[in-house]
């Protein structure tokens, strides 16, 4: 065993490599939310040549502590690649348990605090971004990105607070949640939402074969295509990758989709 251990350690060390996407300026602050009672740490990546008096689109990133660096670096890269205006990337840290903040109903897997959490974004975070950071006040300039339960929360924002965001990035969304409650919400709110112009990117990993992800994902996407004439929708399945592995490739595709539409 002594002969093998150094070999295995060497294997692990040799395979480690950090992906680097470039530098960006950041500012951070915290908000004690009246809506949820929790304190949220907010990190904001600023565009190149940022000026507080400017007007910038803003991407609100759920699970911000995990996703912020990759999203901010990728925005920098793709805004340059597509010669488009860069955006504010707003990382929303964990205030309460994500199984509370990101889930729409009280069920076995979550506690149903998404409504309060979105009230916090709408009434507290967005006004702060608009007044202090120059975030554009138009709906079309607000983007919401979430993965897994975060994707579920973004889907809930799409159905119940469609006036808040003009772009949605639903990455491996947990649409199986609470006996497919999001499909019911989409159905119930369709009439109110389907006339608005909007962009929805949906992404999944091809190897997410745990018996819960694929069918509701396709059902939701097919509904978007069938019932929302003013929507630009895109679906992307990442080959060979699973739930977590497909996250960053789908963030990349979602941002490309966004910048191409601008």
């Amino acid at each position: 065993m002594k002969k093998i251990l150094p070999f295995l350690i060497l294997l692990v060390v040799a395979s480690c490599k950090k992906e680097e996407l470039g530098d960006y300026l950041t500012k951070d602050f915290s908000i004690q939310s009246a809506s949820t009672g929790a304190t949220y740490h907010i990190n904001v990546a600023l565009p190149d040549h940022y000026h507080a008096s400017g007007k910038y689109a803003a991407i609100y990133v759920l699970d911000g502590e995990d996703n912020f660096d990759f999203v901010a670096g990728s925005c920098k890269k793709y805004s340059r690649d597509y010669s488009k205006s860069d955006v504010l990337v707003v990382s929303i840290g964990y205030g309460r348990n994500r199984a509370l903040d990101y889930t729409p109903t009280d069920a076995a897997e979550g506690d149903g605090g998404a409504e309060q959490f979105l009230q916090f974004i709408n009434n507290e975070l967005i006004p702060e971004m608009e007044s202090a950071f120059g975030a554009d006040t138009s709906r079309d300039s607000r983007i919401l990105l979430g993965h897994s339960f975060g994707g579920l929360c973004a889907a809930y924002a799409f159905t119940h607070h469609n006036e808040m965001f003009g772009h949605y990035m639903l990455l491996s969304p947990s649409l199986w949640y609470d006996n497919l409650v999001m499909l019911r919400y989409e159905q119930d709110k369709r009439a109110a939402n389907q006339a608005r112009p909007q962009h929805v990117f949906m992404g999944l990993g091809e190897m997410e074969n745990s018996g819960r992800m694929l069918a509701p994902y396709m059902a939701f996407y097919q509904r978007l295509q069938s019932h929302y004439p003013d929507m630009q929708a895109m679906s992307h399945l990442v080959p060979h990758l699973d739930h977590m592995g497909s996250k960053n490739p789908n963030i990349t595709e979602a941002l490309k989709f966004y910048f191409q539409q601008q």
Partner: protein, 203 residues
């Protein structure tokens, strides 16, 4: 990525070459018997994230005492315990794998330990149907072929014609071979397998 393959080859070849043992089909006395060919059918599971059952077979050709060629074949019945969940039915979900590789072995009196570097292909296919009484029925299936690279440990216990075989497989795909993103390691974990089998010395 090439580092890992190179290191693995170097390790396996160095160990095989450094053995200094004469080739023999059988070592007499109290040492562990060496056979040219072993066939090791087995059953097992992939424990993460949900249990996948599999049947597999390992065919090992011991070219030298410490150097062998290994063939690994398996069929996995995936997602065995969660075929219906929240009105989502799994119509089918399986994986077929064929890998070839090289291995090196360590021997004790009662057992042998073989470490192999394997590479091959895996065919995955699954289909899910959404069957909720209030919603439209939606079915969708995916099939894909992908590389499968990894390290296998194989313990053989027993000196007679039939012996006990235990195998453990550690995938090196998709991380780091496909991507350097550490998030992708959940794909590796989904293909970790633990197997038990009955081995046969053929020759």
């Amino acid at each position: 990525m090439k580092k890992i393959i190179n290191l693995s080859f170097m390790f396996l070849l160095f160990h095989a070459a450094a053995s200094g043992q004469p080739d023999s089909t059988r070592i007499s006395g109290k040492t562990y018997p060496l056979s040219r060919w072993t066939l090791e059918p087995g059953i097992g599971l992939k424990p993460y994230p949900v249990s996948d059952f599999l049947v597999s077979n390992v065919l090992q050709w011991n070219i030298r005492k410490k150097f062998s060629l290994v063939s690994y074949t398996s069929y996995a019945y995936n997602n065995a315990f969660l075929r219906r969940f929240n009105y989502i039915k799994t119509d089918y979900n399986f994986s077929l794998t064929q890998k070839l590789g090289i291995g090196t072995s360590f021997y004790s009196k009662a057992a042998s330990h073989t470490f192999s570097l394997l590479g091959g292909i895996q065919y995955d296919s699954y289909k899910e149907t959404l069957e909720h009484p209030d919603f439209e029925k939606v079915s969708f299936g995916l099939s894909s072929v992908r590389p499968d690279i990894g390290l296998m440990y194989n313990l053989k216990v027993g000196k007679k014609k039939y012996f006990f075989s235990y195998r453990m497989y550690l995938p090196l795909y998709p991380y780091p071979f496909l991507t350097s993103d550490i998030n992708a390691v959940d794909g590796n974990m989904a293909n970790i397998s633990l197997e038990l089998g009955l081995g046969i010395r053929l020759k």
